[in-house]
Symmetry: C2
Subunit: 210 residues, 2 copies
């Protein structure tokens, strides 16, 4: 069985959504990111991945795959009939890769990462000044589209759904971009998305009160 190392409401949430949308069972291991500890084993997470970051997907052969863009495409390809990614070789597959890269680099790594890990205003001023221009890109794209790519849900939608949730936590009011807030509401009506978020929110509350 696949195993996913995750932290509640970290970007590994997108991988959990993808697994649930794909109908693929997995064992989930919670990681405490600040102490780099695997919660259930009380062991050093750096022994699982030297990067010390989630998601880590342990494949059936024991190999470990990291980075959202790779993990999400791997999960999507496990069950192609669910259509979570355009088939490899389709023109739209490059659009999927384009969106995974944009969300990962521009929203996640250029804005959300500094916001949650760097606490001083000096580090945060520039990323904050830039986020509106960044969000104008998916906002314009989704003005007349239900999903990022084609006419059905893909793992890029899972990744953006996570990013929009965290933007709220980071103090960005996405109501400024009606197409983004409508997208977020639409995605959260999907049973797998709703259940994945509820599971991780409950785990996060447990961490917060521990």
């Amino acid at each position: 069985m696949l195993q996913l190392y995750f932290s509640p409401m970290a970007c590994s949430l997108a991988s959990r959504i993808a697994l649930m949308e794909a109908g693929v069972d997995a064992r989930y291991h919670q990681v405490h990111l600040s102490t780099k500890t695997v919660v259930d084993a009380d062991s050093d997470f750096r022994g699982i991945s030297s990067k010390g970051a989630v998601p880590v997907l342990v494949l059936e052969n024991g190999e470990r795959l990291t980075e959202c863009a790779a993990v999400l495409q791997y999960i999507a390809d496990l069950n192609p009939e669910r259509g979570l990614a355009p088939r490899p070789g389709d023109a739209d597959r490059y659009r999927l890769q384009e969106w995974l890269s944009f969300i990962g680099a521009e929203i996640h790594k250029a804005f959300l990462f500094p916001t949650f890990w760097y606490k001083d205003d000096g580090s945060l001023a520039k990323p904050r000044a830039r986020i509106a221009q960044t969000l104008s890109v998916p906002s314009a794209h989704l003005a007349d589209r239900e999903f990022l790519i084609g006419h059905s849900f893909t793992v890029a939608d899972a990744y953006l759904t996570w990013a929009l949730l965290l933007l709220r936590t980071a103090g960005v009011d996405i109501a400024q971009w009606p197409s983004l807030s409508a997208f977020s509401e639409r995605m959260q009506k999907r049973p797998a998305v709703r259940e994945a978020i509820a599971t991780e929110m409950a785990l996060r509350k447990m961490v917060a009160t521990a």
Copy 2:
């Protein structure tokens, strides 16, 4: 014919290297990134891509593809016999996506981008403090490997080659990581890599003295 919008020594250099390694002809349009101008047409680059970032690859059907990870995979798949990417569906294809994501998010967007675009020390202290941990990942991986994936050159090597060149310009002495500086030297012995870099260095000097 394909068209590539690039800026000398920006990350679009990796796309130029990929096109040359693939033996694919393209028309190259230089972009001035601070003014968002297409140099040969003296026109607004935002008319080509609202993101205002390079690379932009204009496909044969006129569509425009952005983001290094997507553009590099597209170019690699144009000429599969050159082996610039593991075939779609191969297990190693996910390793390629993992490296493209890591280089794009962790080296490029989390370090090089702030270094070249944010000028104040407040914005730069945290990225600077983090880069050694980031570089320890490819450094360890390349300690006993000639290439990032498998036993031949892929577009991930092209992307890392660019990143290592820019790290020097950003004041990071990669001699601290012997496997990275050996990799960089090895890659620059490849005729396509050497020619791509020489072309863009010459264009950059023209910009600097203009």
